[in-house]
């Protein structure tokens, strides 16, 4: 470890962020749960008993087995199996991975677009600001889900089911990312408007730095805390949006299920007694979204400039 990263780590250890984290039981519990879920999802191939993407490992005779502890259960499938005979535990692990990937990917795309447009609108002002913010207003006046459904349906119709299945994950990242950028752009713009009046920006102008340098090197780092808070909450929102789209049949295909498409596939069997196919992935989804939102709440409280200026 070099001295630079060491001092950065030390600085973090001494920061208010770390101090308040250590004293917030909800934040600690949420982050532990989230960390476990992320680790389990990322290393799903190591933990999962079977590979749900591999058709050779699936036996249709094993379909709709209940979780362990219920009559007729098979100890090889601790959480039971779904209608195709896939092990629920493995499918949920892989599904969480897909959901998290879409959540993070969509937020990265949102943040990239939102930061760029927010900085431009806030710093340049005038006509650029008006045009970008009116576009954002127009986009916010449509429901994200509605836009996503239309775009998803059009793509599904034009590419066909098979092709759509292959690119579905990128499509979902793209749709959710593009649909939600105004949230971040507005926040960034508001912070930039406050920051650009400060004298350190004038000092940078007097130095002769170019607009790009001032925007990205001087103003952007000072607007990061609200972006951080919003991005956290947006990950949860993106995961929910993905689940909703999948539930409507416009998301991930059955062959590489996300949590949403798992819930949907189990929904057909919920009346015939196989409740676990829907309920267990549903619980996982709720816990995942809940802990992310709790962390987001904690971050918002800590980084609220009225409570702490730093």
């Amino acid at each position: 470890m070099t001295t630079a990263t060491l001092s950065r780590w030390n600085r973090f250890r001494e920061s208010f962020l770390w101090y308040s984290f250590k004293r917030d039981k909800v934040a600690i519990a949420s982050s532990i749960v989230l960390l476990l879920m992320v680790l389990a999802a990322v290393f799903a191939p190591l933990f999962a008993p079977t590979d749900p993407y591999d058709l050779a490992q699936i036996d249709i005779m094993n379909s709709e087995l209940p979780p362990v502890g219920m009559p007729g259960a098979d100890s090889a499938f601790p959480l039971g199996t779904d209608a195709q005979g896939r092990d629920m535990l493995s499918t949920i692990l892989y599904g969480t991975r897909v959901s998290l990937l879409i959540g993070f990917g969509a937020v990265v795309l949102q943040a990239a677009l939102g930061i760029l447009f927010g900085l431009l609108a806030g710093y340049l002002g005038g006509r650029v600001d008006s045009i970008l913010m009116r576009i954002a207003d127009v986009q916010l006046s449509f429901s994200t889900l509605m836009v996503a459904i239309i775009v998803g349906a059009v793509f599904k119709a034009s590419f066909g089911n098979l092709m759509f299945g292959e690119i579905a994950i990128y499509m979902l990242i793209f749709i959710i990312g593009v649909a939600e950028w105004p949230q971040i752009a507005r926040t960034v713009r508001a912070s930039v408007l406050a920051e650009k009046k400060k004298e350190y920006v004038d000092a940078a102008k007097v130095m002769g730095f170019r607009t790009n340098r001032i925007m990205f090197r001087h103003i952007l780092p000072n607007t990061l805390s609200p972006i951080f808070v919003i991005a956290t909450v947006q990950i949860a929102n993106a995961i929910i949006s993905e689940a909703a789209l999948s539930f409507l049949g416009l998301g991930m295909p059955e062959t590489q299920p996300s949590l949403g498409s798992l819930i949907k596939s189990g929904f057909d069997y919920i009346q015939s007694g196989s409740w676990w196919i829907t309920l267990i992935p549903g619980l996982v989804l709720v816990v995942l979204v809940l802990v992310i939102n709790l962390l987001g709440d904690w971050l918002r409280d800590v980084m609220n400039p009225r409570l702490y200026k730093g």
């Binding site: 102008k205 130095m207 002769g208 001087h218 000072n222």
Partner: protein, 336 residues
């Protein structure tokens, strides 16, 4: 006299108040009217800053001192008039053409709590301008330069890895001065650099500025409202009122024999310990709004010597026998 280092000619700056075209339209008395309003922050300022001097600009709040400073530095573009530096007009330069002047002209700001980027360490803050303006320097040379400049303002170079908020106001202002000095400028605009500081720190920072002037052969345009500072620091003083210069003189001359009625009132308002002086001059009324400027001399509404000519005609700066320049009809006519 040699040609001035900085030459400000007929500088004007208006800030538009009325907004977009649609917002300007009002309905009054059965008719649509287009109404345009602007704050006249500076109204024709001529100033020459000679090489090596410290020209102080004084005046009360809202008289346009800071606007002059920001316009000279190019942070604001003038509505009319020109700014020349070393014989070259600089207020209309675009893009890269202005860069050589950015190195020669630097600015120190009023609020040391806002003028340092909170996310950058002191080392980064000081290194960035050197890297930017002298890309040919190696990393070690830049670091040396930063150390040298930090030492010269009395900041321990070992503190480079700290952030701005870990310092006191006076230390921050020293760092801001170091940042301005880092690119080896010739000319520094200081916009009330000590007014946000503790009184005990003000003298230190002021002495630091004077020391830097001596060792680095600097020229200052020093904006302040503190007359004691002017007496201590300034080579010449320009007194501003409502966006115009009303008197410009050597510091000693101005303090010993102020000519303009406004300057006289201003100087008489300095609190003194002895009580044997006559009471200060009470001016009638208030400073008029810079949105609707009075006609003629801007000071006529409050001036005890104002006559009809003062209400009609704008006075120009004239050289008096004392060597000072005064914009006053009464002084010109010998009434005062």
């Amino acid at each position: 006299m040699t040609s001035p280092l900085v030459d400000i000619r007929g500088l004007e700056k208006r800030f538009d108040l009325s907004g977009s075209f649609l917002e300007q339209i009002t309905f009054k008395g059965g008719r649509f009217q287009r109404k345009q309003e602007a704050v006249h922050a500076i109204n024709g300022v001529d100033l020459q800053v000679q090489k090596g001097e410290a020209l102080c600009v004084v005046g009360e709040s809202g008289c346009g001192k800071s606007t002059v400073a920001r316009t000279v530095m190019g942070l604001l573009s003038p509505s009319a008039g020109e700014v020349h530096y070393g014989g070259q007009r600089i207020d209309n330069l675009k893009g890269g053409d202005v860069l050589p002047y950015r190195r020669k002209m630097q600015m120190i700001f009023q609020n040391p709590y806002a003028s340092l980027n909170p996310r950058m360490t002191i080392q980064q803050t000081l290194e960035e301008p050197i890297h930017f303006h002298r890309p040919e320097l190696a990393r070690s040379e830049v670091r040396e330069k930063v150390q040298e400049v930090m030492q010269s303002v009395g900041i321990d170079p070992d503190w480079g890895s700290r952030f701005g908020h870990e310092f006191s106001g006076g230390q921050r202002q020293r760092i801001a001065i170091a940042r301005a000095l880092a690119v080896d400028p010739e000319f520094i605009v200081a916009d009330e650099p000590i007014s946000a500081l503790d009184v005990s720190i003000q003298a230190q920072v002021l002495n630091l500025l004077m020391e830097a002037q001596e060792t680095r052969n600097l020229t200052y345009l020093f904006i302040t409202h503190d007359l004691a500072v002017v007496e201590h620091f300034g080579t010449r003083v320009a007194v501003m009122y409502l966006g115009r210069v009303c008197e410009l003189a050597e510091t000693k001359t101005l303090f010993s024999e102020p000519r303009h009625p406004y300057t006289q009132a201003l100087l008489s308002a300095i609190p003194r310990l002895e009580d044997d002086r006559p009471n200060y001059i009470r001016l009638q009324g208030e400073v008029p709004t810079p949105v609707n400027l009075p006609s003629g001399c801007v000071f006529h509404g409050r001036c005890p010597y104002a006559n009809e000519r003062c209400r009609q005609e704008i006075p120009r700066l004239i050289v008096t026998d004392g060597g000072s320049q005064v914009a006053c009809h009464a002084v010109e006519e010998g009434r005062l």
